[in-house]
Subunit: 615 residues, 2 copies
């Protein structure tokens, strides 16, 4: 009997915090693929993780979740945990980031191991040992625990303490098992390389994904843009690329809250309107000037709002509470109120303590951000570079904007629409020459742009007509197609691929479909590159302000307007009533999500929408 | 008995559509001032206007509103209307844009006129006749009506038909009446000149205005920015300075809605899956290509989505409804559905007709706008120039951002906060050198900036401390102070002045007060200069998501966040819980308006808020 063990405790740092076990591969979460493979030879499967909540919904009752008894101690801690919990003698250990684990390899290793007295059998290739995807005897747990107790945490430390067999590629070749089961994916680029390449023709064979599934296919490839430093005055509207810390206390001196007099509270005891206390004024402290004298008993200093309180003083009294007739020689002031220690003085650091993280990386730089950056002396501001986005329109029918019209042709408007969306999202748009219907030229131009820019967007050429050149490109290129059909209207043929870490978005040529495709799939990527944490657009609930009687077998993203009225949120479609697709984009402030099926919606029904950020 | 008559029918074109009669002068609506003056000598007052709704709330029962019986025919039409409706013999006629009308002048003119047989008495100065602010006999109405019937509409035409007396300045001087009652205000600049100059010292004598009153003082001076033409790709985020018209029909040719075949509907009669009709394919029409042949009976043309439908064809059938086996020599197609004339063809101009105004001046240029501009060939886009805004911080305590801290001093953060607000509003910020506490230098710098920029903003120096230099400036300059105290917190000493048509905003130096002052008073001006129609920020109703127990004698503008949740709008203050004023600006997405008085507000109470546009 073999117990399959998946180690799912890692932090996925290099995968930018995404849970590697849940990456789609190519359609299912990776761990599901592994569980299916393990089920072929294992009577029992354990998933070692401290994150039960994340895994339970995916694993269901196929495997048992066992909390790591040595969390943070790496694979050896996980293996020892498994040895403590398994029911049988043998453990097939794998990492959760290995897409090609092989039950055939596990079976042959198990067969070999049980014929010997060795404690483990481990694949080895060109001197590289692969303790993940190896088979162990559960009885060596005491050795493992000793090694951990000795503060040695590496698998190699464990292996050097036991007797183990090595299984080279030739061993597996004998059994016709290709030696690729040790592949793991630590980075998005390793993930991209591991994904299957495009099937030979996807033109008419398309898997339909939901919008959420399609977004989850893109998510692993959202990287961070590079950092650059720019002048504070140029930084408005950009995104911070570093956490910003308070370089000082605020205030950094004891600050007067009012125009008035700095006093010693003790001197004002018993003061009232009827019986004022009289103090000698020894100094006037303007904003920005440094007090020169220390208050001694029965003295006061005239002080302005925001100025530094002099030593000796422990309260400030408002001008209105004193006799404004300080005039007689300007030396005396009548105090008409008893003050307490600390009155109207802001202590050092009360607002912000030096060293506090005040603004997190990824924040948009607006007026409040700018004020804080200035306060802490950040005249050179670390911001994310604007992602450079190449934009191609495709189609021989397209004219330049300056051209006179010709029959059958229209001016290229999509490139400008998408460029405006790119700019609004925080990217830097580059409008490229229109791609005509020449497959080789298209491929050359798109691949060159993928080299030079951070991502590429095309519009048109994605459906299945004779001249749909983007379909041809995805059929013939070396990159990976992530998806090419989405259960939504408009924009169902929206296709996205990845090539050397760069995303290629092939949006529909229909203007509203291109618009929707951008908002759902491209904007989140740009936002993520700029440090955004909430990648995909938030769905907001509202009441429908008009009937929408057109049922649809697919979810629809309908252009609409939302408004906040008398405390309630309302949305209203503007698409169907407007004659022109493009004109309705003028006024749209949201995309209303109309779910699939049903018999249409009525006034007052609850729906969800995505707000469009025009800027 | 004299009947006072105010002509309030004009279109106020030169005053940018504002109702001149309602301009504040300096605190009350101008017409209210006129009614008070007329009440001194008139037993009856008529206001001639076609806009009862606007005037009724201001006029109440002090005067009678009489609809112009000759609307659009100018003052003479109004005078004849008044002659038809007045109860007495004499009419004192004035225009609604005259701030200095004089009952004394009316009385002496009336006394003179009634001793003669003349029909009118009219002031005259250096050859200039002033038929508005003159006294007429009601009996000449038949003459007036005859002149109008002769299609002569000028007051001079009327005067030349009657016997009238002229009243030169010397006539009024005899009665010690200054000859300034004929002044009228056609333009914002004439309005500015007519406003009273700053009182000698406003330091401690401030009239408190409501926020709405203060906004209405600024409104008459909101002009339009100049126009410039820029490239479409540079125009995103700017504001259109002209109405945009469709330069062509959309579509401008009969457009196919599908991939399929263009056919003659008549040829498809009786076609079905079982009994298809077979047609000869004579051409393939790609997008952008021009059909070369005319469909004759029993022929069809292969056609792509968006391509031009050939002459002779009157329907397009989807590819899916044909036998895809067009293969045998590629010449025949099986049609499996009966088509109707017009099926799947978009007629010329169906979406947009040539000449339609598609985008109004003042619109923000976003993705949808860009698409339409491109469609209609607008590669050079008329936009409003960004208003140039000079920003001064005041105060000797301010350090440059790059400076090391010194005791008692802080870095200048307000200038950068305001600059970010200016940019977000669509303006072009210019950060000027900090103004130290030297009154002469401040005045020189601010006046020079008012010459060179479209407006000037200062922060700090507006309250009544010893070093409040903006107060000194308003005391001593040649401009007009519009207000210097507002019933609101924060920002009550916010002051605004006008000098040679340029606005000077003196905001509070407290960061949150400066922020609020900008949003309430400056942003609307920039928005108006960029063609915005809804000048002052819209108040939105929401439920309070937390108690706000601090009552205030003034309306408060509290920094908060709003959210749309389960179809409802919620707001929550973030100010009071945050230690630092500036830090709470980081997260604020709105200003919650807490009304004056009351005993604080509770969770769930309805409040109003202003959304902050950070970009």
């Amino acid at each position: 009997m073999i117990t399959g063990v998946i180690l799912a405790g890692g932090q996925s740092r290099r995968m930018r915090g995404r849970t590697k076990a849940l990456l789609p591969f190519p359609k299912k979460p990776l761990i599901q693929l592994q569980l299916e493979e393990m089920s072929k030879c294992c009577d029992e499967i354990l998933v070692i993780t401290s994150d039960r909540r994340t895994f339970e919904p995916v694993i269901k009752d196929i495997a048992r979740i066992v909390p790591d008894i040595h969390p943070g101690l790496g694979p050896l801690g996980g293996l020892v945990t498994a040895m403590n919990h398994c029911s049988g003698e043998f453990i097939w250990l794998v990492g959760c980031d290995m897409p090609f684990i092989s039950s055939s390899a596990a079976i042959v290793m198990h067969n070999t191991l049980k014929m010997t007295q060795a404690e483990a059998i481990v694949p080895i290739e060109e001197g590289m040992v692969h303790p993940l995807h190896a088979v162990y005897r559960a009885r060596s747990k005491s050795v493992g625990e000793r090694i951990l107790a000795e503060q040695k945490f590496s698998m190699m430390a464990f292996l050097s303490a036991i007797d183990w067999l090595d299984a080279p590629p030739s061993y597996f070749e004998q059994h016709h098992i290709p030696f690729k089961f040790t592949v793991n994916m630590n980075t998005p680029s390793e993930y991209e390389q591991a994904l299957p390449t495009t099937a030979s023709s996807l033109r008419f064979q398309r898997d339909t994904l939901t919008v959420a599934e399609a977004q989850s296919k893109i998510a692993p490839f959202i990287g961070s843009s590079e950092e650059e430093k720019i002048n504070l005055t140029e930084s408005f509207g950009r995104y911070l690329a570093q956490d910003i810390f308070a370089t000082q206390d605020v205030p950094h001196f004891r600050r007067s809250g009012y125009d008035g007099y700095a006093v010693r509270a003790i001197d004002t005891q018993g003061a009232s309107h009827e019986v004022p206390v009289q103090l000698q004024v020894i100094e006037t402290i303007a904003c920005g000037s440094v007090p020169k004298r220390v208050l001694t008993p029965n003295t006061a200093a005239r002080i302005m709002t925001g100025a530094a309180v002099p030593e000796g003083a422990d309260a400030v009294i408002m001008l209105e509470m004193t006799d404004s007739a300080e005039l007689p020689a300007g030396l005396k002031v009548q105090i008409k109120k008893e003050m307490k220690t600390g009155d109207n003085i802001t202590p050092i650091g009360q607002e912000i303590r030096q060293g506090t993280a005040v603004i997190a990386s990824g924040n948009y730089i607006h007026a409040g951000t700018a004020a804080l950056l200035a306060t802490f002396g950040y005249m050179d501001v670390p911001v994310y570079q604007r992602p450079k986005v190449a934009i191609f329109a495709t189609g021989s029918e397209l004219l330049e904007v300056r051209s006179a019209l010709e029959k059958g042709k229209i001016r290229n408007s999509n490139s400008y629409m998408i460029a405006a969306q790119v700019k609004a999202a925080g990217g830097h748009p580059f409008i490229m020459d229109v791609l005509r219907d020449d497959a080789a030229a298209v491929k050359k131009a798109v691949l060159a742009a993928l080299e030079q820019y951070d991502m590429v967007i095309t519009t048109g050429g994605v459906s299945v007509g004779d001249y749909d050149i983007m379909v041809d490109l995805f059929d013939s290129w070396e990159g990976r197609l992530l998806f090419n059909k989405i259960a939504m209207r408009p924009g169902s043929p929206t296709s996205v691929g990845i090539h050397n870490g760069k995303l290629l978005f092939a949006l529909s040529g229909n203007p509203s479909a291109g618009f929707v495709g951008f908002e759902l799939f491209v904007r989140p990527v740009i936002a993520g590159m700029l440090g955004g944490t909430e990648a995909f657009p938030r769905l907001i609930t509202a009441s429908l302000a008009a009937d929408f009687t057109k049922p649809s077998p697919y979810p629809r993203y309908v252009r609409g307007v939302y408004r906040m009225d008398e405390g309630k949120v309302w949305v209203e479609p503007i698409g169907p009533d407007k004659s022109s697709v493009t004109v309705s984009l003028l006024d749209a402030t949201c995309l209303i999500v109309i779910p699939a099926g049903g018999r249409g919606l009525r006034f007052g029904d609850q729906v969800q929408f995505i707000a469009i950020q025009h800027n």
